[in-house]
């Protein structure tokens, strides 16, 4: 890793040792959007709040660092949103992407609450802007954070600190004391040593377990070794594991997650948005046997990008190659790594270590199947193939104008859905169906309640904000009584 010393980063965030006698009203474990929304709402409800963030100051905020927008319902256009997005439309979208694998009551509650989020989150110092260049299709539904997720975090942390929320970095919770659905204390490991924190209520907002490859393997098998993790290396699911071991009810299964196909050259962790590739619809995608395996032109990219992670995961060695020609090179957003380039398909295959004859055959069979049509890069057009399987139903053009290009892609796991079950208050539900006494959850750790499978852009942040705020409110209310 390239390291450059930065005083801002290295600046020691001098913290006093934890006071063993102190009992907080609310303990928040985690440091991302959900955790901060919980901490702020609990504090605004009058509770004393401690936030324990396992990561260092720079890496604070988990996957929120990599986010850029949230999806909220709204009844009319605003300064930053181009048109209305009703609760019903949001619900229809969610039902479609999850194929019904969602809890309707919770989902509808979240959608209704999301309306108010647009102003609440601004009141916490977060600023929005119109959709970013290259993301026009989200301009109506999604509100983008000015400066991205880390700017959002900076604003939330600043607000939390001004309100008097105590935040500790490099503070990893290694044990939870829970009795009959009641949280009693947490054991925290810090550089200075291990200590115990007591609080009247707990909010677990510590993310999913996608950085824990061993856990992923329990569902995916050995192929999980070939997955790339798009976000924070800190989301190892340790708190989630402890909660499940303490009889909190599990929701979702290990293999469900938000997974996209990202550049195979990306780092194992934390590559973020810039390794994403938006060119699938303009080319063909082959596996390492040079075979196509799915309709690349099924729908506009934002509606389909979240299925490609699983599609590539199902291919031999979990790798695939997007192949396109010079005509498509500038139709999509640039990404971090340049495409691999060659003057012929055979030469391209050699560079990709694929069988040149096989790739050439796949491309020429595809080219022969392309029917005449009017190409429209921005809308589903009438350019389709005939007589091959899988068909390419839109944007099908011959790949015949050199130079030729390829991006190698692997599954990139964004976040996992297996989590703890909660109710509308964000209160955890125990394995026996009873409500937990004083334990709440928000964010990725409970995303599976709403997202049984599939994904829609910006919904992770909606889950985090809505249930974070609810969890903070609920925890503070419990602590006061």
């Amino acid at each position: 890793m390239l390291q450059r010393s930065s005083p801002a980063v290295a600046k020691a965030h001098v913290t006093q040792p934890l006071d063993p006698e102190r009992r907080y009203d609310v303990l928040v474990i985690g440091g991302g959007n959900a955790a901060l929304c919980a901490a702020i709402s609990a504090r605004r409800s009058g509770a004393s709040v401690l936030v324990l963030e396992a990561a260092a100051h720079f890496y604070r905020g988990g996957n929120t660092r990599h986010t850029r927008n949230m999806r909220c319902a709204h009844d009319s256009a605003t300064e930053i949103l181009t048109g209305p997005y009703t609760e019903d439309e949001f619900w229809e979208d969610l039902k479609r992407v999850t194929q019904g694998h969602t809890d309707e009551e919770l989902a509808r509650y979240m959608i209704a609450e999301s309306k108010d989020m647009l102003t609440w989150i601004v009141d916490q110092g977060v600023r929005f802007q119109p959709s970013l260049g290259g993301t026009l299709s989200l301009g109506r539904t999604n509100s983008f954070f000015l400066g991205g997720g880390r700017a959002m975090l900076n604003a939330l942390y600043l607000t939390a600190e001004r309100l008097g929320v105590e935040v500790r970095y490099d503070a990893e919770v290694i044990e939870l004391e829970i009795e009959n659905g009641m949280f009693l204390s947490a054991t925290v490991k810090e550089a200075s040593g291990t200590s115990t924190v007591r609080a009247a209520a707990l909010v677990a907002a510590s993310g999913g377990f996608e950085a824990n490859i061993e856990w992923l393997k329990q569902g995916w098998g050995e192929i999980a070794e070939n997955f790339l993790i798009r976000g924070t290396p800190y989301n190892r699911g340790t708190i989630l594991r402890m909660l499940l071991d303490h009889q909190v009810k599990q929701i979702g299964d290990v293999t469900q997650c938000h997974a996209v196909a990202i550049d195979a050259r990306a780092p194992k962790f934390d590559g973020g948005i810039i390794t994403r590739l938006d060119c699938v619809i303009y080319g063909i995608v082959v596996n390492n046997q040079c075979q196509r395996f799915y309709d690349e032109g099924e729908d506009i990219w934002p509606k389909r990008y979240a299925i490609w992670g699983r599609l590539v995961a199902a291919q031999p060695d979990q790798i695939a190659y997007i192949i396109f020609d010079a005509r498509s090179l500038e139709l999509f957003m640039p990404s971090l790594f340049p495409p691999i380039r060659a003057d012929s398909i055979e030469e391209l295959a050699t560079l990709l270590e694929l069988d040149p004859a096989k790739l050439a055959e796949t491309v020429s069979r595809f080219n022969a199947a392309v029917q005449p049509g009017t190409f429209d890069p921005d809308n589903p057009d009438d350019c389709a193939t005939a007589g091959i399987r899988p068909a390419k139903t839109h944007w099908a053009r011959e790949i015949d104008v050199g130079p030729f290009y390829a991006y190698p892609v692997r599954p990139g796991i964004t976040f996992t859905y297996l989590g703890v079950k909660v109710n509308k208050e964000a209160r955890m539900i125990m394995a026996d169906g009873k409500q937990a006494v004083n334990m709440f959850a928000a964010g990725e750790i409970m995303a599976g309640n709403v997202l049984g499978q599939g994904y829609a852009a910006g919904i992770g942040m909606t889950i985090g904000s809505v249930f974070g705020r609810a969890a903070g409110r609920g925890a503070a209310k419990y602590a006061r009584n």
Partner: protein, 364 residues
Amino acid sequence: MHATSALTEADRLMTVCNSCRYCEGICAVFPAMEMRRAFSDGDLNYLANLCHSCGACYYDCQFSPPHEFNVNVPQVLAQVRSESYEAYAWPQFLSGSFQRNGLVISIVAALSVAAFVIGFVLFRDTSVLFGAHNGPGAFYKLMPHNEMAALFGAAFLYAIVAISMGVRNFWRDIGEPAGTLVQGSSLWQAIKDASTLRYLDGGGVGCMNEDEKPTDKRRLYHHFTFYGFMLCFASTSAATVYHYLGREAPYPWYDLPVVLGTLGGLGLIVGPIGLLREKFRRDPVLQDGKKYGMDVAFLAMLFMTSLTGMALLLLRATPAMGLTLALHIGIVFALFITMPYGKFVHGFYRFVALVRYAKERREL
């Protein structure tokens, strides 16, 4: 291939940033970047001079150090920017003055002050130099108005010519047609953007200087400095007009040149002190460490100009007036002749970069 390692690094960063775009709402640099897919030296020099160094993109970036992508846009663009000052300097053989700029400016200032002191001593009677003078024409007993006007007029003219040639070099490098500079709407937009420092505010959140908290006051201090400078300039212009109308300096305290000069002078004291203070507090990771001297020298010269001018106002009726005058006009003379070879040029390159940006935005 790029001409320098800073340009190569800037190209790498712009490739990273263009794949991300989270910062596009912060300032003009990122929208300008998005209009391109590849970055020539000229493109990078344009983007670097468009950057106001507000720092927000560094603290908002999920890839800034210690992340392995090591994205530090403010620092790298600051390096590219100072290299570009050197590359555009006219005449080229003086470009080396940017290398150890703090030292060069200090030496020029010292020599200039010394020259005026020595000149006064050699060419004026000691009784004139140390005498108390009152009434119209007091200053000109030390240096006749026409001599002063000719010397400073020539120095100022030289500065204008040299800076114009630099701007011409910049304009050619970024590949922009000359016609853009006379486009009324682009010019007007740039005047508005520059005079309000629209892009020195982190997109509305505020600037960042010491850490991720938007507590920076550079925008305010820059306003003090810039408008202070303009008021001083207006004061001098008014005095020149007065002179040719037959009214000789010094003027009473309530008269236009003195009022403008005093207000401007206060701005030029408060502004540079504030900017220096912010500079000393600035997170070193944001700075091009090699150009610290250039920035400090520029602020120090503006501060000294004002300080000596104010001293002159206070001491003008005393025997100290002669030496104070030598000190003041020595500093001002040095400020003029070093304008094309120091931080002063940033305003010109940034302004014309904003003109181009206004045009690009409109044509989008």
